[in-house]
Symmetry: C3
Subunit: 333 residues, 3 copies
């Protein structure tokens, strides 16, 4: 991004939206010597973030006019770290246009707005995905239905068979019907490093979802709203495959979307009881699951570095190294 | 507490009952240079604690006469860190009277002995709580019944409707009937710091309860006995609210109970699938859930400090800083 | 092992099979200054391990002729750390004979090949075990059936009563029928240290099993294939008992099997809702559950050491200390 050329690299600031993974992002940035800016949408949220010393500035802005905030970020010599809530808060159109250097492949946001295109991109990467049904008539087993724009697990429901599916789809539009794969959920965190020319498998988590992960005894219908994350380590014999899928995904983004997937991303899967993996989602940027190792670092980070590192530190490390090597433009779009 | 005035602050000892969270409390204390004393109720327990170098003395005492042990603690120049098992072992009357400087708001123990007063205190703090039913007749949905003096999850049972409730209550007295809220359990750890004049949100856990968290397939009735704890990080957008509830609770204790809630405490909740929180319990002192980050520190501790810290270290840090500033009386009652 | 006498202790290498817990074993070894060798069975696995700087050499070998690889390890001045996948990959006969110094009690592998002998060894140690039924006719409650050679949870099934059991056993042989204990699973990690003359309780985990730990709503039959591990801390009042069982097991191995249980091992249990423990399995070497604290260390490691340590580092620490004291032969067989 050409605006980066005018930045004073000695005084770089790192900014993100005050939610999701902002705490680890800004703490990591501060640890690596950057100025830090949190952008809140409400005063009470701003108040929470203001109490932390590692956050230099907390701005309260109107997310409906995020482009303006982005212009101010450029004046503040700031690069921007997008996360899942960012796109949700400002909308994908503003996220595409915001004139601030933004980590990773911005164009990918377009693909993520469409569940069918998401699945297509995974398949182009040779990653095994859950079967998608074009019509309810094709359905011959339990399925999960995701409404377009479903966020954080809200807007999902299960149907055990075609009959139930038909009944529940009545009156709905803009959804995707996927095979409900039996197994256990597992979310893989990756970091694509232009500086080191590699994809790192960084960690894994399980989402903690209300109410399905509670004790409901079948007394209420399952819902899937993410309220937290749980740390997971993977069977080591699965790691080569999981790493390979991460590499393949980064390559697919480069080839199909046409831009570099720099920074953190995530593949979201079910592991079946034959140990095969079925990926049903991806996230093209940092996921909240990386919060599980804030401060003390991820188990897998020590595979690549001398000491444990959390994802916020990993991002800051990459920015610092890229800045030193005059390669910031490899990270930001 | 006036006895503190006679203490030699250079030779302060930290003591606790050998159970619950004693390992992290004493290890943290040793790390900050305090002498450490573990007080066991049985020889085999004492034997276990004796093997650790960070514990200077292990006493075996008769908990039925804890007041005597407390007197010896004063002679030993010791402050005392209470935890959940302490009150269980020595009884709330002795805990109220033990003549040793005790961390936090001792008077709160009285409120905790009565489930109705507990809920009242939460409500006085403006914290959303699970509905309490005065009589079985009012019940119109699934409920959980807690016998008074229930401890560690023992003495809880569920009733799906009024009929089942009536049947199961037959012959019982001294219980509280609460709405059984559907969602996921989440326990929030706080630290109230007189030294820094703030409430810190320090971490979160999930209790690991036998048999309800096992694979029972509905073949046996659910029971809720806590046998361990699992680490949890929260959706970051929930953190401002969770922090606020912690602040409000500390304030309510000060206003209603009339003493300062110094040190660790906990709010215990269900998070519903609309992300609203329903608090059903609190603990006025350190909870066992903080054991999850013993040694390497909690994810949220780095929000306040340069390096990760566990709750035992956090307590020791507060004592050292208070001692330096001549403010120990702000911590102990 | 006499070959150790010819080793150059200044240039010791640590080797293991590239799977299971190899990453933490080799990373720990490198941290303590040893050369490191990963032994892979396939080229794609080798490729994964080759990317890590802490692994000096990755060998690709034919596991059907592991004895040959073992001879090369001796030439390379290497000691060998066995893990669960090792025995699975090379077979217990080769594992018994491989002429490379191997950590721990090699003879124990024989006992582990027979489910009945495993249970016997636990009982000889005075450890409470799940009831074993000699015939289906004795069965009067839910049971779990484990086929001999079941690995990683594959080859297990449940039967709720005698009728179901009979039906499902038809045509099968070589299995063990165990009481299905209701409660929660908990796996305890120990380290037996000849250098310090003690058994350390090092950590605990829960296995993450597909599909039983997923959201299956009873729509499919439960299966128990381990795909990862979750961190667990135990109720502290259980720790003295859990530590004692670890001590008793090490003693039983010494007395009954006749060799020293040096290094990591594991007891695998259900904790009932009366807090009693029922052990249904053991592992005589490092378990994958220890991967949960790779890099940042286990909560209980700080009970014994000044800083958190993971199991890979713990092993390397023991080897270094034994080498310094001329006691390597206490570790390897």
């Amino acid at each position: 991004m050409s605006v980066l050329k005018r930045y004073d690299l000695e005084k770089l600031a790192v900014a993100t939206v005050a939610s999701h993974t902002a705490l680890q992002i800004l703490r990591g940035a501060k640890k690596y010597g950057f100025r830090t800016i949190a952008i809140a949408g409400r005063a009470d949220v701003a108040e929470f973030y203001q109490q932390f010393n590692f956050i230099d500035e907390v701005w309260t802005v109107d997310f409906r006019n995020f482009v303006k905030a982005a212009e101010k970020l450029v004046e503040a010599n700031a690069v921007f770290i997008p996360h899942g809530s960012y796109v949700e808060y400002v909308g994908w159109r503003q996220a595409l246009e915001a004139p601030v250097p933004t980590l990773g492949c911005r164009e990918l946001i377009k693909w993520e707005a469409d569940q069918y295109k998401k699945m297509e991109l995974l398949q182009r990467g040779g990653i095994p995905t859950s079967r998608v049904y074009k019509t309810p008539e094709e359905v011959d087993r339990p399925v999960i239905v995701k409404l377009f724009g479903a966020k954080g697990g809200r807007g999902y429901f299960l149907a055990r068979d075609r009959e139930e599916l038909r009944r529940r789809l009545a009156g709905l539009s803009d959804y995707i019907i996927q095979e409900y794969v039996f197994g256990v959920p597992a979310y893989y965190h990756y970091f694509s490093s232009p500086v080191y020319g590699r994809v790192e498998v960084f960690g894994a988590d399980i989402r903690y979802e209300s109410n399905v992960d509670g004790r409901t005894f079948g007394w209420v219908e399952p819902t899937f709203v993410v309220v937290g994350n749980l740390p997971l380590v993977l069977r080591e014999s699965l790691l080569p495959t999981i790493w390979k899928y991460g590499v393949q995904f980064a390559k697919a983004v480069e080839e199909v979307v046409g831009c570099r997937l720099a920074g953190p991303y995530c593949l979201e899967s079910i592991i079946r009881d034959d140990m095969s993996i079925s990926v049903f989602e991806f996230s093209g940027r940092i996921v909240a699951g990386t919060n599980i190792y804030m401060g003390y670092g991820s188990p897998y980070s020590v595979l690549y570095f001398d000491r444990p590192m959390d994802m916020g530190e990993r991002i800051a490390h990459e920015i610092r190294e890229a800045a030193r090597r005059g390669r910031l433009e490899d990270l930001f779009t």
